[in-house]
């Protein structure tokens, strides 16, 4: 049963396994006895920045055939510390150094002799054994992420329901209008239902719900709560901020210096993505768009999610740097969002409500030394804490000018 199910669901997996097995066993017979581990692939990643195996010259020379050209003991010494060999006057080392514009190869003291020999073997095989092992290892690590995805809590569900409701206002409204007209029609023209109180109740309920919809829609005019636009690249904050634990300000690095939190330039993406070229969810397709944008100098046209009207002034630096607010206090749990959604309505009431209850870091900030009256009040004991309201958080011209 189990085998049958396995085969019918994914026949390629089993075939692939056989291919890898045959490949592995054939290689094992032709190689020296000590085993090669997935670690080699990891160690070789350092080399990969400057070298290829059969892919041409990068910073350093192509490594294909290097194992036949030099003997193993010399290669081990060179990989561990090339500069020491050059300083010692080794003619082969100096020749290599001069051939490559005198760019020194950084020493690798963290690798012991066994590990370096592993790498040499890896180069000899064009980097193939370890590659298959690492692929198998990655499949195993996937499971805890999948478990995490399945976890949902009531709070999240409630928020989702609210968001769904907000998106179906029109349908609710039309249903209510139709109900009102049907009951009116029956009341005046057809008279099928004889008890008139039924008509009255239906009309009253429909009017209430319809009125509520009109009220909610009217107040949300000009606001964009639950706006969740599709972006040009399938970029997930859940992967980058949640799973990879990269700080928000690594990419949005002007949040504490400028009015705008900032959209990172493509260069910042490349800090990691010049190495990481394949994602677990989208493969190479989405990451290729970054490289495309970088190579052609064409900016990526992200869609702005959180929009404020132009008659409001909002400054990120003030809130992040001086107010010491966390990003998620206004933007919600972005680290759990694949696609960013605006969770707060960004209404004026929402701003003012927060200004009324938030305490100012009054003692530690030298700027507030000028508020002498407030300091006097605190010293007298008439005021225990200073809220944003006390320093003008409710004044019109603070945000509207």
């Amino acid at each position: 049963m189990i085998i049958k199910g396995f085969v019918s669901r994914n026949p390629w997996k089993l075939q692939g396994f056989f291919v890898i097995f045959l490949f592995l066993s054939s290689l094992l017979f032709s190689l020296p006895s000590f085993s090669q581990t997935a670690e080699t692939e990891t160690n070789f990643a350092i080399c990969k920045a400057c070298h290829t195996i059969g892919g041409g010259k990068l910073v350093g020379p192509d490594l294909k055939g290097v194992t036949e050209k030099y003997d193993e003991a010399w290669l081990v010494k060179f990989i561990q510390n090339s500069q020491a060999l050059i300083d010692a006057g080794d003619p082969a080392a100096i020749k290599v150094w001069e051939e490559n514009s005198k760019i020194p190869m950084p020493p690798n003291p963290q690798l012991n002799e066994e590990q370096v020999k592993d790498i040499i073997l890896y180069i000899k095989n064009d980097g193939k054994i370890a590659a298959s092992e690492i692929a198998a290892g990655e499949d195993e690590t996937k499971t805890p992420d999948e478990v995490q995805v399945e976890e949902t809590d009531a709070h999240k569900l409630l928020a989702e329901m609210k968001q769904e409701d907000a998106r179906h206002m029109k349908t609710t409204f039309i249903v209510m209008i139709i109900l009102i007209f049907i009951s009116l029609f029956d009341l005046i023209v057809t008279k099928i239902v004889k008890w008139r109180w039924i008509h009255t109740i239906i009309i009253l309920i429909s009017l209430t719900i319809g009125g509520e919809v009109i009220f909610v829609e009217a107040t949300s005019l000009g606001r964009q709560q639950y706006y969740q636009p599709d972006q040009p690249i399938w970029f997930s904050h859940k992967v980058h901020s949640g799973q990879n634990q990269i700080e928000c300000e690594y990419c949005h690095f002007t949040a504490d210096k400028s009015m705008h939190a900032g959209i990172p330039p493509v260069q910042v993406c490349l800090n990691c993505h010049n190495q990481v070229k394949e994602g677990k969810i989208t493969g190479t397709e989405e990451i290729a768009k970054i490289h495309d944008s970088y190579n052609n100098g064409k900016p990526i046209e992200w869609v702005k999610v959180h929009n404020l009207p132009d008659h409001v002034y909002f400054n990120h630096a003030q809130h992040v740097n001086i107010g010491q607010l966390e990003c998620e206090e206004c933007h919600g749990m972005v680290e759990e969002m694949d696609q960013v959604i605006q969770v707060e309505d960004l209404s004026m009431r929402w701003c003012i409500d927060c200004h009324r209850i938030t305490e100012v870091q009054f003692a530690s900030n030298r700027f507030y030394d000028h508020y002498k009256q407030l300091h006097a009040l605190i010293e007298k004991g008439e005021k225990s804490s200073v809220k944003v309201v006390d320093i003008g958080g409710e004044d019109c011209q603070k945000c509207h000018y």
Partner: protein, 193 residues
């Protein structure tokens, strides 16, 4: 018959006015661009029909020196050039910041924001991106003699333009010059622990 006509006459405008919003629809606004809601200036990051490359955010003209900023004259476009410039910077480029508790604290904040994901909180090259196998190359340990033996100017160069190997990208756009010096002081402090 009269009732049905009335029914349709009222219903149709209501259907048009009511809003079923998809997630891509930002909604409606009162008066919109006729009010002060959306004014006509070009926003940062928005496209701009006037300028040649149709971007509002423009790069400064080459050779511009911002007020209060010190130009860093060691940029190189090719790798050998960069290798030469890096060794030049290590000898010539001196640290203008004097160390204090505030400098260390600022350095710590910036280190944890920009460096610790790869180099680890303690600087041992064991950041989360490496230990979770998301980034395959092992980041350099910052507390061992290889980095600690380098002069401040060279570390500054690597933070600004990235490492020669290309494994570490340039962080010059993200970290202000003063903060780079602060980070260097903090890394020196880490090595003492």
């Amino acid at each position: 018959m009269r009732y049905i006509r009335l029914f349709i006459l009222i219903l149709i405008p209501l259907i048009i006015m009511a809003c079923n919003r998809g997630k891509n629809n930002p909604g409606y606004d009162y008066l919109g661009s006729h009010d002060m809601y959306y004014t006509k200036f070009y926003k940062a990051y928005a496209p701009n029909p006037i300028l040649k490359d149709s971007m509002t955010n423009q790069l400064p003209v080459e050779g511009t020196v911002a007020r209060g900023k010190m130009p860093f004259p060691y940029q190189g476009s090719t790798l050998p050039e960069r290798a030469v410039n890096q060794s030049k910077a290590s000898k010539e480029w001196m640290n203008p910041v004097t160390v204090s508790d505030e400098v260390i604290a600022a350095g710590k904040w910036h280190y944890q924001m920009f460096c610790s994901t790869c180099h680890g909180v303690a600087g041992k090259g064991d950041g989360y991106l490496y230990t979770s196998k998301l980034f395959l190359a092992k980041p350099t340990s910052l507390v061992e003699s290889y980095v600690q033996g380098k002069p401040d100017g060279e570390i500054y160069y690597v933070i600004t333009y990235g490492s020669i190997s290309g494994l570490m990208g340039p962080h010059g756009s993200q970290i202000l010059p003063a903060d780079r010096w602060n980070i260097i002081y903090y890394v020196r402090e880490l090595a003492k622990k």
